[in-house]
């Protein structure tokens, strides 16, 4: 999956579908990305997570950990696991057009 067209724009993605360049991402692409991994529809609660991840990535240069999303983003771990079942950090990063998270926490 080297290149893909999302919301009419061609973007580069890695073998697992994560964005190679987070700057390529636009909000309109998120629903389609979510559908690819079985999350449909994207609710406002999902968007809260996606927006926090995007903002934090801009500042810190890395995908925030689940702990950071809880402590800095005000997103409870329970909610995160309910919104993005079976792998919240990866799934949320996938939809937010960020690279695959590398942290262990």
């Amino acid at each position: 999956m080297a290149e893909a067209t999302l919301a009419g724009v061609t973007v580069e993605r890695d073998d697992e579908g994560f964005f190679k360049n987070p700057d390529d991402w636009k909000e309109e692409m998120a629903p389609e990305l979510a559908k690819e991994i079985g999350i449909d529809p994207l609710t406002e609660a999902h968007w809260k997570v996606i927006r926090f991840m995007r903002e934090d990535y801009k500042v810190k240069g890395q995908v925030p950990s689940i702990r950071r999303m809880k402590n800095e983003g005000g997103i409870s771990t329970k909610d995160l696991y309910n919104l993005f079942p079976k792998g919240p950090a990866k799934k949320a990063a996938y939809i937010a057009g960020l690279g695959k998270p590398h942290g262990c926490i």
């Binding site: 771990t77 329970k78 696991y81 990866k90 926490i105």
Partner: protein, 156 residues
């Protein structure tokens, strides 16, 4: 997703030192992050990690631990263990590894089960009230095997 993916793990934490507890907690949390079902089972001195009064007071062993790279006679000086613990906690915080109480709460919130070993609870004369609110139940070895059915068992 390949079909040979691990779907369930039971992790046993049997030691009460900081370095004895954290690997199991990190593996449990990491498994949940991958969508793997997790049961965490605390036994013997590992129980300290879910005992309210003790969970945030775990220490690094500075004696009998050759990988600390300090001589045993230095490791036994008063305050050495506390200092090593403080340093390690500081480094862990930098990479977002929480203190034990926060970590247990997080792991509980991921949907993992947290259990205490009945034999140890009886041996140490502990009560349910001694444990943090996130410890789900005190269970027997038999219960543990029953709930571990169909998964991998990891002993730490």
């Amino acid at each position: 997703m390949s079909s040979d993916k691990i779907e369930k793990v039971s992790i046993i934490i049997s030691q009460g030192s900081l370095e004895g507890v954290y690997p199991g907690l990190i593996m449990a949390n990491g498994a949940r992050m991958e969508g793997i079902d997790v049961n965490l089972f605390f036994t013997f001195f590992g129980l300290d990690a879910v005992i309210t009064k003790r969970m945030d007071k775990l220490k690094v062993a500075t004696v009998g631990n050759p990988a600390m790279h300090i001589p045993t006679l230095v490791g036994m000086l008063p305050g050495m263990s506390a200092m090593a613990t403080k340093m390690m906690m500081k480094e862990m915080d930098k990479i977002d590894i929480p203190p034990v109480s926060e970590f247990i709460e997080m792991i509980h919130d991921t949907g993992a089960g947290i259990y205490a070993c009945k034999a140890t609870v009886d041996m140490f004369h502990l009560k349910k009230e001694d444990f943090c609110e996130y410890m789900d139940d005190i269970i027997t070895v038999g219960d543990f095997y029953e709930m571990s059915h169909g998964g991998q068992i990891i002993f730490t």
